[in-house]
Amino acid sequence: MAADALSRVFSALADPTRRDMVARLAVGDATVNELAAPYDVSLQAVSKHLRVLEDAGLVSRSRDAQRRPVHLEAQVFDLMTKWIERYRREAEQRYRRLDDVLAAMPDDVTPTRGQESPS
């Protein structure tokens, strides 16, 4: 995914209303009216939010259908999950190194502060 496309995903998800919309679309497709219902904002404002999500590739709207339901592009959304998994693996690698450090430490260790250890 191109860097600027990624930036758009992040900008789009930075807004709490848009994150909420994405969460609701994860359950199933919805029309603009249905999406607007829980918010105390105009349809116009909701459409604007949707346009941001659409530009980021997070949602799509079918062109032909009368209702034009909004559909979540799960593939793009999954990217967030992948990042979290990648981050988790990096943390796990770090902690495996800590496992080795702990195994090599003497048993009678006292939790001295770093400042007090000679270096």
């Binding site: 995914m1 860097a3 600027d4 990624l6 930036s7 992040f10 900008s11 998800l13 930075a14 994150r19 969460a23 967030m80 990042w83 979290i84 990648r86 981050y87 988790r88 693996r89 990096e90 943390a91 796990e92 690698q93 770090r94 902690y95 190194r97 800590l98 496992d99 080795d100 450090v101 702990l102 195994a103 430490m105 260790v109 006292t110 939790p111 001295t112 502060r113 770093g114 400042q115 250890s117 270096s119």
Partner: protein, 160 residues
């Protein structure tokens, strides 16, 4: 996540606040795990990304102390610094964390160590930042260059 054992690192990105929570268990008593977080000679042996050389500038891990370290990769240096807000042996470290490439950003980090039966320890590390963009950038910080560049562009976008 079904393939990971309970012992492996667990990560939760909180949906309501820009926070990441990491939990991990260790086959070592709490005192040792605490020491491995406070002694700079031990810290450099495990912290930091894979394949990067770490150099500690200073690491004064006590309440009111501060730290700075540098990761070196391909001749490029990446500096990090922060303050130790509360250090309570052998259970708690609260500190700030700033990547010097983005000096206006700061994370508030809390490390809690709990004793488990059999001389084992559960580590819970939370990192709280001031925006979801910041949190998500933090999550993606380990990604490949293309993604990092994506964030740099996003940073520029948000700053402009």
């Amino acid at each position: 996540m079904t393939s990971t054992s309970a012992r492996e690192t667990q990560i939760v990105a909180d949906p309501d606040v820009p926070l990441v929570r990491i939990t991990r268990e260790f086959d070592a008593p709490r005192e040792k795990v605490f020491r491995a977080h406070t002694d700079p000679e031990l810290v450099v042996q495990w912290q930091g990304p894979n394949g990067m050389e770490a150099r500690v500038d200073h690491y004064d891990c006590r309440t009111g102390g501060s730290y700075r370290y540098v990761h070196v990769q391909d001749g490029q240096e990446y500096g990090f610094h922060g303050c130790f807000h509360e250090v309570r042996s052998p259970e708690l470290i609260v500190q700030t964390f700033t990547f010097e490439g983005f000096p206006d950003g700061v994370a508030l980090e809390r490390l809690v160590l709990e004793e488990l039966p059999g001389g084992r320890t559960r580590l819970t590390a939370t990192s709280l930042v001031d925006s979801f963009e910041g949190r998500d950038a933090f999550l993606a910080s380990g990604m490949d260059t293309g993604v990092r560049e994506g964030y740099q562009r996003l940073d520029a976008l948000l700053a402009g």
